[in-house]
């Protein structure tokens, strides 16, 4: 499985905001068909890293390769054209608009004159229903506003959208954080479905080590903008993961402090 070339390789990536170093030389390899968990405490730099990968913030220095080729994204559009589909924490959905309108937001199917081309609603509705079904959600009414969908369904919509528009690398920023138990499981199942497609590399950011352990094939731990540990699911044991997620601080120490 891992003799393949990585879908995305990051080498020595640095990102500074003024005098503040958010990322200080990150290396990362993500392989197709794998879920790669990116873990770390609040403020570790996880969101900043994926923003650099998805063209939101150009990195200060360092190298990003997609399918072996060096890329430099100037905009989210360029990143998504190169096959990097990002599902943000806020999902980038318009809650007031319908499922279909969100699914095709920015890439509408239309006939005629540039932005004044007529939307092909029927075709777009059909595709939306079919694509959602592929990763396990049945929607009865594609005109339903996204705001009325459950959190899990919204995640699925955002994931389905990224995949349909050609994402080979799918980045999920805390997809389960705002959800109830049942919906969390729904989203994990969706991720599993995507993993099984085999050709998509998934970067999963989460604070939940149970979810990470359930689903991830490989782990990278960040703390204060640096990688403090990495390994496959087999190489890492439960306590090790917990410890690294908290930024390397001994959990035992914490227990002692709380007891005092």
């Amino acid at each position: 499985m891992s003799v393949q070339r990585p879908s995305i390789e990051v080498r020595n990536l640095v990102k500074r905001f003024g005098s503040f170093t958010a990322l200080n030389g990150i290396d990362l390899d993500v392989y197709p068909g794998e879920v790669h968990a990116l873990l770390g405490d609040n403020g570790a730099g996880k969101s900043t890293l994926i923003k650099a990968l998805s063209g939101v913030h150009p990195p200060t220095s360092g190298e990003i390769k997609v399918d072996g080729e060096i890329v430099q994204f100037q905009s989210p559009r360029e990143a998504s054209d190169a096959g990097i589909g990002t599902v943000y924490q806020d999902l980038a959905l318009n809650p007031l608009a319908s499922v279909t309108r969100n699914f095709f937001l920015g890439r509408e199917i239309k006939k005629g004159l540039g932005p004044f081309g007529l939307l092909q609603m029927k075709e777009m509705n059909a595709i939306t229903i079919a694509e959602m079904k592929k990763i396990g959600i049945h929607i009865s009414n594609p005109d339903q506003p996204v705001g009325t969908m459950s959190g899990g369904q919204r995640q699925t919509l955002a994931i389905a959208r990224a995949i349909y528009f050609g994402a080979k690398i799918l980045i999920l920023d805390e997809p389960t954080s705002a959800l109830g138990q049942k919906q969390q499981m729904e989203v994990l199942k969706t991720i599993r479905t995507v993993q099984k497609l085999g050709n998509i590399a998934i970067i999963l950011i989460t604070h939940n080590e149970i979810h990470a352990q359930l689903i991830a094939d490989r782990f990278t731990f960040l703390s204060l903008g640096e990688v403090i540990g990495r390994g496959t699911a087999q190489e890492l044991e439960g306590d090790e993961i917990k410890k690294l997620m908290a930024g390397g601080a001994e959990l035992g120490n914490l227990k002692a402090e709380l007891a005092a």
């Binding site: 959905l93 309108r101 509408e108 239309k110 081309g117």
Partner: protein, 532 residues
């Protein structure tokens, strides 16, 4: 597993949505509230405007919805409607434009002054030849500017200003409220300054703040054999010339005009007869009242008998149709030589309104003449623009971009929507709407002044909100904006006719409707985004 556990797999997400029939679906539409208010106002205007003592179930029998009432009310509605479309779309994208009213004044002044004085591009330069003065270099100059050119020059100025406001707002990140409030003062001031600077003859010191004595451009016609002149001037030509003009009329036209004129003359005569009858009856009644007061019983009896027998007045004879009448009527049918001015300031649906008079016997005033010639052209312009806005907003990619820009700006951006371009385009569009408003006004009344368009920006926003547009953006429809416009435009008239109610209550009413509409809109929005 206990025996009474249901099998959860059988129920899927789709089942959780209540199946609605068409009626429930309709009730869920956000336009249903405004529709109700509009119908209420229509009813009020229709029935309260029926004169006292007269009973009718027909709402078209009162002043509110007689032909002239329809003509005038729809003019008010359409003018507001033109700017409300721009304001509404802009609000849906999450921004405001408070400069619309001043833009109307600016555009109207521009057009009227260009039409009156011509247009020149003058480059100022300092001169030291004779002390220090500022001289102007005339780059080029056009006299006798056509209506189309005047509109196009004005559009260049207003659209650039709209573009600049939009560009400044998206680049600086300053709220559009403040930037366009600046625009409101700036443009109104610039308008006043321009009137004083340019609306004058060379030798006058300060210009006037109104443009008057423009010709009635839309009614300039080509009179056969006599060249271009205003319709009214042509109709008051000396008799011999009128006859010359009539000679050029095709026979079929003359025949038809003769028929129409005799119909109208008979109608006028019949109306006069009825009028004289009722006058006579009134006079008798008054004498009777006097007789009762003075106790003259013989007189009372005699008058009562006369009234009971019914008054007989000689029928008024219909005027004969003269050749001069025919010539004037023919001049009325001559097409305009300035179609652009006619397009903005003329009348539409003339054949329909003729039919309503000659055939349906409805469009008749108190003297028996035709009441309204048609609807104002601004109604057509409003509806054309509304149609295009509807298509763009709900059927095109641009529409999806507008909704998402207002609904969730960062989401739209993350999905590659050019949100800045969307917003700037809509600022340009509101400037376009203001210019269309001004063009309609200028070519209708052939005057302009510095105060034109005052408060229209706020009325437009109010109309959009009453129609279901949410101020924070992302939500609203063109149909709703149309309904809100009709409500706002008709309320004044509707309250005017309520007996015993001060006419100014319409403002109280609109204020209350505005706030309850905003509340309803917000609740619908919260219900959708699930944060009630």
């Amino acid at each position: 597993m206990s025996s009474d556990t249901l099998n959860p797999a059988k129920r899927n997400e789709a089942d959780r949505h209540r199946q609605k029939n068409w009626f429930q679906t309709m009730l869920d539409r956000p336009e249903i509230g405004p529709l109700g208010v509009m119908l209420l106002l229509f009813g009020m205007l229709g029935y309260f405007s029926i004169p006292e003592g007269q009973f009718s179930l027909n709402p078209f029998s009162g002043e509110g919805f007689n032909a002239l009432g329809i003509r005038n009310n729809f003019r008010v509605i359409a003018q507001l409607g033109i700017v409300a479309l721009g304001a509404g779309m802009l609000i849906i994208s999450g921004e405001f434009d408070l400069s619309v009213g001043s833009m109307i004044g600016f555009a109207g002044g521009c057009m009227a002054m260009i039409l009156k004085w011509g247009f020149a591009v003058i480059i100022p330069y300092p001169s030291f030849a004779d002390g220090f003065t500022i001289e102007g270099f005339r780059l080029f100059e056009i006299q006798n500017v056509s209506p189309l050119t005047a509109i196009l020059i004005t559009l260049c100025l207003t659209l650039s200003f709209g573009w600049f406001q939009g560009w400044f707002i998206v680049k600086s990140g300053i709220s559009s409220f403040i930037v366009t409030l600046g625009g409101l003062f700036f443009l109104r001031g610039l308008t006043e300054v321009s009137y004083r600077a340019f609306n004058k003859k060379e030798d006058q010191t300060a210009g006037s703040t109104t443009v008057t004595d423009l010709p009635d451009i839309k009614n300039i016609i080509e009179v056969p054999g006599l060249g271009e002149m205003e319709r009214e001037a042509a109709k008051s030509l000396p008799n011999n010339q009128l006859l010359e003009v009539l000679k050029t009329a095709p026979e079929s036209t003359v025949a038809k005009l003769t028929e129409q004129l005799s119909y109208a003359n008979e109608k006028v005569a019949a109306t006069k007869t009825v009028l004289q009858e009722s006058r006579m009856t009134q006079t008798l009644q008054r004498s009777l009242d006097n007789a009762i007061q003075s106790g003259n019983e013989a007189m009372q009896k005699m008058l009562q008998a006369k009234i009971d027998a019914g008054v007989q007045v000689p029928e008024v004879k219909a005027k004969a149709v003269t050749d001069f009448d025919l010539a004037k009527a023919y001049i009325d049918t001559l097409p305009t030589a300035r179609p652009v001015a006619e397009f903005f300031g003329g009348d539409i649906l003339k054949p329909l309104f003729d039919w309503l008079y000659y055939t349906a016997d409805w469009n008749v005033n108190n003297f028996g003449n035709q009441f309204a010639p048609g609807l104002y052209a601004c109604v057509m312009i409003w509806l054309i623009m509304a149609f295009f806005c509807y298509i763009v907003l709900s059927k095109t990619q641009a529409g999806n971009w507008i909704y998402s820009t207002g609904g969730n700006l960062s989401a739209a951006r993350a999905n590659g929507v050019p949100t800045n371009r969307v917003k700037i385009s809509l600022f340009v569009f509101t400037a376009f709407c203001a210019t269309m408003f001004a063009a309609c006004q200028v070519f209708e009344v052939n005057t302009a002044d510095t105060a034109k368009g005052n408060l229209k920006e706020l009325e437009a926003i109010a109309a959009a909100v009453i129609g279901g547009v949410v101020l924070t953006g992302g939500f609203g429809t063109i149909l709703g904006i149309l309904l809100g416009t009709v409500i706002f435009g008709i309320a004044k008239e509707a309250f005017f006719y309520i007996p015993g109610v001060d006419g100014s209550f319409y403002r109280v009413f609109l204020g209350a409707v505005l706030v309850s509409a905003a509340l309803t809109n917000e609740n619908i929005r919260k219900r959708i985004i699930g944060s009630a």
